[in-house]
Amino acid sequence: MKLQTKINIRFLAVTFLVFSVAGVLFYFALDKVVDQNIREMLESRKAYILLNLQQNTPTSESIESPDHSIFIKRIEKMQQYIVFSDTLAYDQEEKELIPFRKMTFSVQSGDQYYEVILLQSLLESEDLQMIIFSFMTVLFGIVLLALFFLNRWLSNKAWNPFFKSLSVLNSWKIGESQIVSFDQTDISEFDQLNSTLENMMQKIQADFVNLKEFTENASHEIQTPLAIIKSKLEMVLQDKTLNDQQYQRIRAAFESTNRLSKLNEALLLLSKIENRQFVETSEIDICALVQSRLEYLEELIVLKQIEVTVHLETQVAYRMNPLLADILINNLLSNALRHNKEKGKINVSSKNQKITISNTSEQVEMDVSRLFRRFAKQTTSSESNGLGLAIAHEICNSYNIELSYRYLNGMHCMTIGQKS
């Protein structure tokens, strides 16, 4: 939810609540005042009538005032109580039934008893309520509009530095951009936020550079002794006086050194991918890449007598680092080739921005949960270092591409496709 929307909703809710409560309270208060007023009016009229009736006895049985507001009639017995009640009566002027307050009391005039009924129109008080209600509604609307515009103005004005910082953060890429600096704002909290962000980004950048240097230096330090071991062993291998057993032993040491140096390279690559050190990206045509890798592997494919079927109907293109794309496709294809059997098959097909590389193999279905883990070799072969798929998986991860495995009709299928 957007900040502005959220604030607007809160404003709306609070204003609505305040206005409803205030409206109700206001209504009751006014109602009370009006009621009091009417009662007082009736009381004063009663006093006036009492006075009049005490001095003059009415001549007829019943009297009605011309505006129908006073009605006097003779009764047999004195009633001691005064009754207030609400009633509807037809009003000549308004030409409709309108509410009235009715006051009924008895009075003695001479030796006669009379019942007096006083009527007071409540129309005015109803009008008042109407006016209050519409006034409140209009006010509510005005306040809402005012709040809306205030909020908009505020978020454009006061929150502006915040949104600026946000866009700076969004465009910031670790290792790629230089240290960003935020503009001075006139709001101290934002200045505080910006300076905290600046410090954090500087720290992150420094850590990143340190880590990058460390991994590179560590690999450098390991590669140099490896280079020495390798070259010394190579020199020893040149010795013509060695017997077969000695050759075999040196050979084993040489092989292990080679594996170690390949492993070191692979681990370095993996950490570089994880550290997002391959920042340069371009649109890579995966189909073309697959074709060129297949051409590159062709001699080997012929050697292993493997039948390759390629169905690249749709274009598949991802935005990624060219070197990593190369490594990804190479790892998948050489895996398909390495774990294949003699006279096996490799199928490559593309569909809906997805590429599937499937191959036959001596091995049965793999355990998916372990497949992409480092060193999780599921074969006993010492030829693979157990990092190929981990690297492929990490490359895919860093570009939001999904690498999935399926075992279908005796074929091991690796599919890469953009994550939805």
């Binding site: 690999s219 590669q223 190579e234 020199m235 040149q238 140096s261 070197l323």
Partner: protein, 220 residues
């Protein structure tokens, strides 16, 4: 040879001296700079990460006083930036540690051929004549048709005549960074088999010798 790792330096130098080169060593930029300014060399091998600076500065210096000297960078950093800046400065080649000695040897030979003879030198090995520039091989006057890989393979062996070439170094020479040990060994085997057969058919000589489980030697 400018390299601060003494053990590595010694091995490389002794390998190259067996090939008949005269080598001088320096372990620092300062020492290297002194030698570069004093003498004229055919080829300089230089490590980028030296204790007192970057080997790149030596390349700049050498390019100023002896631009005709060949330069090969040997670095432990397989970093594209270093590679590009090194080659931009005028280095001829770039090798990443750990490399195979025969690979270095073959690169030096090819560099010297390009520099000294503009590649027009003909190599004559026993009954075989090789024209590296147009990648042609003759036996007698008759041209021997070879595939691209077979030619590369022959050049690699010829450059390291009499040496034991391991399967790994051959695979890496032919395949570069993407050499995948297991697969490429079969590949190496099949290419050597073909090359050997082609040469044998024409020359009636078997130039290749198997070295027990390790690799091959080219004898001529």
């Amino acid at each position: 040879m400018i390299e601060d790792e003494l053990a590595l330096c010694e091995t490389i130098v002794s390998y190259l001296e067996e090939e008949g080169y005269r080598c001088e060593q320096a372990g620092t930029v300062e020492l290297g700079s002194e030698k570069v300014n004093l003498y004229e060399y055919d080829c300089m091998l230089v490590d980028i990460g030296l204790p007192d600076g970057s080997g790149l500065s030596l390349i700049k210096e050498l390019k100023k006083c002896h631009p005709e000297t060949g330069i090969i960078i040997i670095s432990a950093k397989n970093s594209l930036d270093d590679k590009i800046s090194g080659l931009d400065l005028g280095a001829d080649d770039y090798l990443t540690k750990p490399f195979h000695l025969p690979e270095l040897n073959s690169r030096i030979k090819s560099l010297l051929r390009r520099r000294k003879f503009e590649g027009k030198q003909e190599l004559v090995i026993d009954k075989i004549t090789i024209q590296p520039e147009n990648r042609q091989v003759f036996v007698g006057l008759e041209q021997l048709p070879l595939t691209r890989k077979e030619f590369d393979l022959l050049m690699f062996f010829v450059s390291n005549r009499g040496r034991v070439l391991t399967k790994e170094s051959i695979a890496e020479h032919l395949w570069g960074d993407f050499a995948d040990s297991a697969d490429s060994f079969d590949f190496v085997y099949s290419h050597i088999k073909n090359l050997r057969r082609k040469l044998f058919e024409r020359t009636k000589t078997d130039y290749f010798q198997n070295v027990y489980g390790t690799g091959y030697t080219f004898i001529a």
